[in-house]
Symmetry: C2
Subunit: 133 residues, 2 copies
DNA sequence: TATTTACCTATTGACATAGTAGGCAAAAGG
DNA sequence: CCTTTTGCCTACTATGTCAATAGGTAAATA
């Protein structure tokens, strides 16, 4: 399951895309609009800055801002950053091709096919595709 | 993520399909072939019996058996039974359309589209599709 | 009656999730 | 310079799930 981290991150990105006028947007505003605990969002947004999705600025007039244009972000990269992996089975996550049964496993091909489908889905969607309404 | 419950259940089903000669197959044999703890499999197989995927028989000559032909099982029904849901976001699981933001949520349509894709994928695959090798 | 099998209840350690709490640091306005 | 606003940092916690293990009882057959 996609956790709140991934889902909230996506909503933060969309909120920032919608309210992008060149200025930094305070987290307080985002939290209020999105009805998410500001304290919890701090954790999430920190990871987003570390992952290069956003930039933050302290002090008055500070807040967060996108570093690219909305159409240059894919949903896939956002979710993968926040969730750690998009893989749906442990044997495929983070290059863990260590299962001793992988040669004879009858289910592995299906998981690989599934993984590819999921990645294609999320990496072909941009922020703009979601915002367009 | 798909848990061991779902993945092991699938392997049990495939094992039973492969060794189906009309007789009951003891769990001990399945556990040995699949290299999975028999004790843990007991829990899993119990749910599979409760869900109507298998029948069990006690005593000598007992074990487990499929109740349908392999091509009449979809991967989707097996996974959904074991995992509880196939939904990837909490807002869509078990008919929980209770989110107060669902009218205005910009991400909901994408999750719905994703859910449909996942369901179509798993429900269009049968045990036979996996066994064919 | 002994053996083989399923079936039942309970417990556990490890880890992740979804937060909360309280403070420090930086930047801007007055 | 001082106050306010904002981000940023460390720590803590309650709850739940996952992946098992342990130890028994019941049923069926030879």
């Amino acid at each position: 399951m996609i956790t709140t981290k991934g889902r909230y991150a996506l909503r933060v990105m969309l909120d920032l895309a919608e309210h992008a006028d060149g200025n930094f947007v305070p987290l307080k505003d985002i939290a209020e609009r999105q009805e998410i605990s500001k304290k919890y969002l701090e954790i999430i947004v920190k990871d987003m800055v570390a992952g290069g999705l956003l930039v933050g600025a302290s002090g008055k007039g500070g807040g967060y801002k996108l570093v690219r244009k909305p159409e240059e972000y894919t949903v896939g990269e956002i979710l993968e950053l926040m969730e750690g992996t998009l893989s749906s089975v442990a044997c495929l996550a983070e290059g863990k091709n260590t299962c001793p049964r992988r040669k004879s496993c009858q289910t592995l091909p299906m998981w690989e096919e599934y993984d590819k489908m999921v990645r294609d889905f999320f990496y072909s969607k941009t922020l703009c595709d979601l915002a367009a309404k």
